[in-house]
């Protein structure tokens, strides 16, 4: 029995490989029609979790249900409900696109009529119609990724599990693929994994941040964006005495802290001030004005977002604090 009643319901799922703890007691629910992003650095346990949900690997302990079926005891039923795009999108390169989809359709138990209709649909949906008779091995990475996506959609599964669906694509293809996934939400329940933060912000209704095999944060993209903005810095590059600059910028309204560093280019006269703003403030205009008013030559004012690493560090730290506070309360 599980607490949740989502289409996907995961409870205390754990996977151990030998001595390595890959996934550590994770639990979450996904409601019908939601698009959930699985966000985390490489090696965080994203793929392992998805492989357990698709019945490729059995969990060491814990349970999960997909579409109401248990991933361990009702594996064949789960596989019927799930469309899966594995990481790196493996395909039979010697087959033609249409031939491959027909083979996959047969494995899924679709009859001739259904296959004809569904293959036509997915070819159209994934922009593959003009390469339908090409050999998969002759296609570019972007097209192969679409073949994998088409395969996962073939049997019109209620649940789609996509492992890094946009990796290796060029910017146009990334945009198209994200658009497609967004359109699929609502009709399908989607879990996708990624290590690209903006991807989650662009596509997902909800993000689950996973690091070191554990869920370290969950939330809507807006919540993630807010916590990421906390980490953003404004960099001001100008020719000024370090201490005076520090004091002047400290007085700008909304500035939380200022750090002045030597300029990286090796020019001794220039310095870079890194400003952190209070929540909800954009200090760029004020900072620029302050520098100009003092008559210091200004080279650049730039907003620098937190890298994913910094973001994860922060998120993990917040999590630890929350746990401590929760324990004290």
């Amino acid at each position: 029995m599980h607490g949740g009643n989502g289409v996907i319901s995961v409870s205390q799922l754990t996977k151990v490989f030998g001595q390595t703890l890959a996934v550590d007691r994770i639990s979450f629910d996904v409601a019908e029609g939601q698009i959930v992003g699985f966000l985390g650095p490489n090696g965080a346990g994203k793929s392992t979790t998805l492989r357990m949900l698709t019945c490729y690997l059995p969990p060491t302990s814990g349970t999960a249900t997909v579409g109401g079926f248990d991933i361990f005891h009702q594996s064949q039923a789960v596989r019927q409900k799930v469309g899966y795009l594995p990481e790196s999108c493996p395909l039979y390169t010697e087959m033609k696109v249409e031939e491959y989809l027909d083979f996959r359709g047969q494995l899924r138990g679709l009859d001739r009529e259904q296959r004809k209709q569904r293959i036509g649909y997915v070819l159209d949906r994934c922009w593959l119609t003009n390469v339908r008779r090409r050999m998969i091995g002759h296609l570019s990475k972007g097209y192969r990724q679409r073949v994998g996506l088409a395969d996962s959609l073939l049997h019109n599964p209620p649940v789609l599990i996509l492992d890094e669906p946009t990796i290796g694509l060029d910017p146009t293809q990334i945009r198209e693929t994200r658009k497609l996934i967004k359109e699929l939400g609502g009709k399908h329940t989607v879990i996708l994994s990624t290590h690209i933060l903006p991807e989650v912000e662009a596509v997902c209704d909800r993000a689950i941040v996973i690091a070191g095999g554990r869920i370290v944060a969950q939330g809507t993209p807006d919540e993630l964006r807010a916590s990421r903005r906390m980490q953003a810095r404004v960099l001001v590059e100008c020719k000024a005495p370090a201490e005076e600059l520090q004091m002047a910028l400290q007085r700008v309204s909304g500035v939380r802290e200022v750090e002045v560093m030597p300029d990286g280019s090796g020019d001794k006269h220039y310095v870079v001030a890194a400003l952190r703003a209070k929540d909800g403030y954009d200090v760029r205009e004020e900072a620029a004005r302050t520098v100009i008013q003092h008559g210091w030559p200004l080279r650049e004012v730039r907003l620098e977002h937190a890298t994913l690493e910094e973001f994860f560090v922060q998120v993990t730290a917040n999590q630890a604090m929350a746990t401590v506070e929760g324990g004290a309360a």
């Binding site: 490989f17 030998g18 492989r51 698709t54 019945c55 490729y56 690997l57 059995p58 064949q76 596989r79 019927q80 799930v82 899966y84 594995p86 790196s88 493996p90 395909l91 039979y92 390169t93 010697e94 087959m95 083979f103 996959r104 047969q106 494995l107 899924r108 138990g109 395969d151």
Partner: protein
């Protein structure tokens, strides 16, 4: 319902895209053709016994090449993940791969029926079809066992080369080594007994025209054992 035939059909058609299969096929037919031609002379006995015995030698090297990619390629490219997340069982996959290769093997044997037709046309007086029939039964059973061994080796590794070498080594030990051994008069009785249990001696009976139930059971059971082991290897990814 089993989905093995779907896998088998894909496997068979993929052979016709692969250069290695064509090379193996060409070599096999060239070699059997040459052997047949050297026997097919005026004054010789109208039989294919020596041809059948040579065929086993050829299969020791041809079948590992035909089977090396069956599972190794799935492991190497990761396509096994797409297979094992579709609604089908490990047994479906192994059985399908086996049947696909077996069907290709039958395609390989098909042209050798020309030799039978030639014997029928030119031998005077007519000749005995019995040993030829039993010879074919024998070669088909040996082929099935060799394919099962090749498939088993292929399921153990990502490397097609390793799979082929391992399979050829096993086939060599169960087929050619016992033949050499049994020709040695000094061989201890125990080892002679072991050698007689292995593939070559059993197969020799078939090419002689003997259809022995014991041999039939041996080949079918041994094939089943290797298929079973292959299924277990494929399942073993779940035990880690």
């Amino acid at each position: 319902m089993t989905k093995a035939p779907i896998i088998a059909r894909r496997e068979l058609s993929s052979y016709f895209y692969s250069p290695i299969a064509y090379v193996a096929m060409t070599l096999f037919l060239l070699a059997t053709g040459f052997l047949f031609w050297s026997d097919f002379q005026p004054g010789q006995i109208a039989a294919m016994r020596s041809l059948f015995e040579w065929m086993v030698w050829l299969l020791v090297f041809v079948i590992p090449v035909l089977c090396m990619g069956l599972m190794a390629q799935e492991w190497a490219t990761g396509t096994v993940e797409t297979l094992m997340t579709a609604p089908l069982s490990e047994t479906d996959v192994i059985l399908g791969k086996f049947l696909g290769s077996f069907a290709f093997f039958m395609v390989l044997l098909l042209p050798t029926l020309v030799y039978v037709a030639l014997l029928g046309m030119y031998s005077r007086p007519g000749f005995d079809y019995g040993p030829i029939f039993s010879g074919y039964v024998g070669i088909i059973l040996v082929g099935a066992l060799f394919i099962a061994i090749g498939l088993f080796c292929s399921s153990l590794t990502k490397s097609q080369v390793v799979a082929a070498v391992a399979a050829a080594a096993i086939l060599f030990v169960v087929t050619i080594v016992p033949k050499w051994a049994s020709e040695k008069a000094t061989l201890p009785r125990f080892w002679r007994g072991v050698a007689d249990q292995l593939v070559f001696r059993r197969y020799a009976d078939f090419s002689r025209g003997v259809l022995d139930t014991g041999h039939l059971v041996f080949f079918i059971a041994a094939t089943a054992v290797f298929l079973f082991l292959s299924v277990k290897v494929l399942e073993s990814r779940r035990w880690k």
